[in-house]
């Protein structure tokens, strides 16, 4: 059996066949070779698998691959333009806003979704915007500061 799906990933056409109960996270990682999205909890609590689906931030562990037909998904692999990092990525590095890095792709996608809706968020808005992303290494201060400095650069 299996479902054949025709979709768009980071602006490029993609096709895959997946099992009916296979989640988008597994499709991205195991069928499309996009291993940026990580499985933390697999139940929508940690945000490590965050992607942007038709303009909305979602946990890819809570989307079926079968649902993707005709949809468009953005993953962390589409964030940089070639070798040029996105300002969010650059400021995370410059501000040491990561340690082990497992949560970072999801946090960057969540921050990207936030800044598209709100280019000048307050600290509180950033903390609420990232409340669905858990980091067990850094604490969140450096992450919040990196998003603030990236937002500032993106506005200028």
């Amino acid at each position: 059996m299996g479902v054949h799906v025709s979709t768009t990933v980071n602006g490029d056409h993609a096709e895959f066949t997946c099992a009916e109960d296979e989640v988008l996270l597994d499709v991205l990682r195991n069928r499309l070779g996009l291993t940026g999205a990580k499985e933390g909890c697999g139940t929508g609590d940690c945000g490590a698998c965050s992607v942007i689906l038709d303009g909305r931030l979602v946990c890819s562990c809570l989307v079926l691959g079968a649902e993707m037909d005709g949809k468009s998904v953005e993953t962390i692999e589409g964030m940089a333009e070639g070798a040029k990092l996105h300002p969010l990525q650059q400021h995370f590095i410059d501000g040491a806003a990561l340690q082990c890095g497992i949560c970072t792709p999801g946090i960057l996608m969540a921050a990207q979704a936030l800044l598209r809706k709100n280019p000048d968020p307050s600290e509180e808005e950033i903390r609420f915007g990232l409340a669905g992303n858990l980091c067990r290494c850094t604490g969140y201060d450096k992450i919040v500061r990196a998003v603030q400095s990236a937002a500032k650069e993106m506005r200028s």
Binding site: M1, E20, G42, E67, G129, A131
Partner: protein, 286 residues
């Protein structure tokens, strides 16, 4: 397991009705996929309703709002007319989960998951919202409070599913509010919750009200005595005290690690008072 995405509600209902195994409706999947992962449910058939025309739309009409069953909660807060007319309904729905969950979760799913603590349900009950149920025989409308039957159980018949939630037309000087108690600031489940919906006359006297409580019984519930306590008043201290007492009296909560019976009973009254104050002020009362 099979997965289908029908284009019409009729087709979806027919597939649900004729399935001999376990059939589940998929809208946002934020409950269903978690339960599948945990092995709590093992569907034979998943009917993804998002392909049904209009089911992801919010429509404003002369008789109110029609919110398609697959509208993600994030879209509710983006609809300025809806926020203006039903701020309490929107604030309840907006409290469910993280931004990621908001991008997928739906009020219809929150209702059918039938948790007593569902954040969007008290607001819908207070609003006199109705659900449109479609089955192979046609469709019918029932009050939101008639949907949950108990923890994790609904009164929906086999082959029946929600296609839309309807919010009635607003009288002038009407507003609603929703409050919940959680021990943290975000990403938690209500220990107690309350929604108040009211209408004022031009002197600020409450002419109509509905009060609903969540997480203090096996389902979210309407509390008619609480509404009676404030109708005909300007929400003075005596009315607020009676409102709080009526809410506390209606509570039949459980003791668990998140709150005791005594705590939930007391806080239900406190939240009712505060939600009533918020709704009263939003409706233009002073």
């Amino acid at each position: 397991m099979r997965y289908i995405q029908p284009n019409t509600a009729k087709e979806a209902a027919a597939a649900l009705a004729k399935e001999k195994g376990k059939a589940f409706v998929l809208a946002g999947g934020t409950d269903l996929l978690v339960k599948m992962k945990a092995g709590v449910v093992e569907p034979d058939l998943i009917v993804d309703i998002k392909g049904i025309k209009g089911i992801k739309e919010i429509k404003k009409s002369a008789s109110g709002f029609v919110i398609g069953a697959a509208v993600p909660c994030a879209a509710l807060g983006e609809n300025k007319d809806l926020v203006k007319a039903w701020p309490g309904v929107v604030e309840g729905a907006s409290l469910i989960g993280s931004k990621q969950v908001q991008g997928r979760c739906t009020m219809a799913g929150n209702l059918c998951n039938a948790s007593p603590a569902a954040d969007s349900v008290p607001g819908l009950i207070a609003a006199s919202a109705k659900v449109v149920l479609t089955s192979p025989k046609g469709s019918r409308k029932v009050a939101v409070e008639a949907v949950p039957a108990g923890v994790g159980r609904t009164n929906l018949k086999k082959g029946e599913f929600i296609t839309a939630i309807e919010l009635p037309k607003r009288a002038p000087r009407s507003a609603d509010a929703y409050l919940r108690f959680i021990p943290r600031t975000e990403m938690d489940i209500a220990v107690v919750s309350c929604a108040v919906n009211l209408t004022l006359d031009n002197k600020g006297t409450i002419t109509a009200a509905r009060v609903a409580l969540g997480a203090v019984a096996i389902t979210a519930m309407l509390v008619p005595d609480a509404a009676k306590a404030i109708i005909g008043t300007k929400l003075d201290d005596e009315a607020k005290a009676k409102l709080a007492a009526a809410c506390s009296a209606a509570c039949k909560p459980i003791d668990d690690k998140r709150g005791t019976v005594e705590f939930r009973t007391e806080v239900a009254g406190v939240l009712a008072r505060r939600a009533a104050e918020a709704a009263y002020s939003r409706a233009g009362g002073k």
